[in-house]
């Protein structure tokens, strides 16, 4: 077999700088796209995990009439005897933890400052509350704490509060009134998500129930599974009479939609960047074709067929692609791996719809997306080289030979 690659390698070596710059363009494109893919996936993964961990869980069971936007603690909207309901659910296969939570709206006042917050009554012993156990200072709540409150770090900073300080908390009660009590800051937590931490405070469930007049009721049973993909199956096993059972997909429709579209979005970006890179490759090979017109004439004169000329140029493009994409992939992988460790700090990104974004985004490169990119880049490069290759293959030998004389 004709050694196309040996010839291709030497041809590329004729104009080292040009070949290097073409390879570099491909390398930079690949590295950039790999990092974008890693960043985007990291963002999506972080957003999904953070949202599930902090906000929605894998499944929520609520009273059939409960409206999560109203945060009402009127008994008719709440689950009665939530401890028993949670225990039953926790007994199901695949359920890692099921815990009652009471959600209420309130206002924190410290001297002349006041800020609206969500009040969440939690069972301090439940592992579902682990995300709130990272404390900047102080200690976590205990179930029988009647005066302690757990607040987020940004809220503490806004109000100038430290552990041991007192604050006044006003709550909308089950009867539609308001009640106010004084609490002591027991601990200051951080989830790494400013937008979330600045708007929520935690009380032990029993205290929250007593304070808001909810009695032995909860707004929801918050459920985490061993495998979130089993959410539909587990949800189906929970008796839905008087309850609404919502899976994480139903609770985070926007997020799931964005996640589903992320691949299409990435492919779109890939095509744009690789399209630009492809023009560099086309340009390089076209210049090569024009410069080597006489040579192509000689090769066809001694019997090289059109498809063999095409193969020769495709071999050149393949070598450019191999070099550029290999180097670019390594650079992109190294960049992604570095930032996967240290993260990229964005600060308070807010909560958009159902999406909660952490202050620091950690790029995350999957093997699948890396391979997808590498294969796409290679295919696009080869496709781009087809045009100059075909142009070379269609040269009439006599014209090619004449043009050089």
């Amino acid at each position: 077999m004709l050694n196309y690659f040996k010839m291709a390698y030497r041809n590329l070596g004729r104009h080292r700088r040009r070949s290097f710059l073409s390879g570099l363009a491909l390398a930079m494109g690949t590295a950039l796209l790999m990092f974008i893919a890693a960043f985007f996936q990291g963002e999506m993964r972080s957003s999904l995990e953070t949202t599930l961990r902090l906000n929605s869980g894998h499944i929520q069971v609520r009273d059939a009439d409960y409206d999560p936007d109203k945060l009402s603690v009127a008994w008719e909207y709440l689950i009665e005897n939530p401890g028993r309901v949670a225990a039953k659910i926790e007994a199901l296969d695949q359920v890692a933890v099921a815990t009652p939570r009471l959600m209420a709206s309130g206002i924190i006042s410290v001297q002349y400052d006041s800020i609206g917050v969500e009040i969440m009554g939690i069972d301090p012993a439940s592992s579902a509350n682990d995300p709130y156990r990272t404390l900047v200072s102080g200690e976590f709540l205990s179930a029988d704490d009647r005066e302690g409150i757990l607040i987020g770090y940004p809220l503490a900073q806004n109000l100038g509060l430290n552990v041991g300080d007192q604050l006044k908390l006003l709550v909308n009660t089950s009867e539609g009134n308001v009640d106010e009590q004084q609490f002591t800051v027991r601990g200051i937590f951080t989830t790494g998500t400013t937008a979330y931490d600045k708007g929520i405070v935690f009380l032990p469930l029993a205290k929250a129930q007593a304070f808001s007049g909810a009695g032995d009721h909860a707004s929801m049973i918050f459920i985490l599974l061993d495998d979130r993909e089993q959410a539909d199956a587990v949800a189906a096993a929970i008796p839905s009479q008087n309850f609404q059972v919502k899976t994480w997909q139903q609770l985070n429709e926007l997020l799931v939609l964005i996640n589903d579209f992320s691949n299409a979005y990435l492919t779109f970006i890939n095509l744009i960047v690789l399209g630009v890179t492809a023009t560099v490759i086309i340009n390089t090979l076209l210049m090569s074709v024009f410069e080597r017109t006489r040579e192509i004439g000689i090769l066809t004169a001694i019997g090289m067929k059109g498809r063999q000329i095409i193969a020769l140029f495709l071999a050149e493009a393949s070598l450019l692609a191999l070099g550029g994409i290999t180097f670019g992939s390594l650079a992109g992988w190294a960049l992604s791996a570095y930032f996967e460790k240290v993260g990229i700090y964005f600060g308070d990104l807010g909560i958009s719809g159902d999406m909660i974004l952490q202050d620091r985004i950690y790029p995350y490169l999957t093997l699948g997306s890396a391979i997808n990119l590498i294969v796409t880049a290679f295919i696009i490069t080869i496709l781009a080289s087809l045009y100059p290759a075909r142009m070379a293959s269609r040269m009439e030998p006599v014209e090619a030979l004449h043009s050089a004389q």
Partner: protein, 230 residues
Amino acid sequence: MEVAKLTDVTRVYKIGEVETRALNGVSITIGDGEFTSLVGPSGSGKTTLLQLIGCLDKPTSGKVVITGKETTNLNRNQRADLRKGTIGFVFQFFALIPTLTAYENVEMPLLLNGRSPVERKQRVMELLKAVDMTDRARHRPDQLSGGQQQRVAVARALSTNPKMILADEPTANLDTENGEQVMEIMQKLNHETGTTFVFATHDPRVIKYARRVVTLQDGLITKDSKVPAK
């Protein structure tokens, strides 16, 4: 036996609105083992005739038969196939592939013909020896003189044992000594292998080696004479 037979061949080039009649109804037969020169002034049509014999180009009208095969209706790839096995070329400019060594240049037609590595090596070394280029086998064209490059080109043209070698002004860019050397090599190979050689030239150094001289003028053959062997 005839290697090439052209009957009433016309070749008209059209550039824009201007038509140039390079050949105007030429008929010629090239016999096996000939050492023929096509001579004439610039624009007489000798290179065009050579290109038609070599299936590098198609006639506007007329018939071109190469080794008994009608070529007029062959497509690009079929013509490439025919050239590959039947015709070798030596061009005026030193038409070697610059990225390949002398050895690899001679080997290229053999590769295209699908010869085995052993066969290729044997043939290439044999040919490089015949053109006295064995010690330059690993040199690239830019490391060779014009004469040496043309000798490699001759070896390449011969590599597949073609029926016919077509040479377009093979000595035009060579000094007297190198020109003579190349011609002597080609004459020797013609004697030893019986390969047909056809030259397009106006170089007296080439013409003096020819045993048949075909003179062209304004796209017509005006004279066709045999030169007696010396």
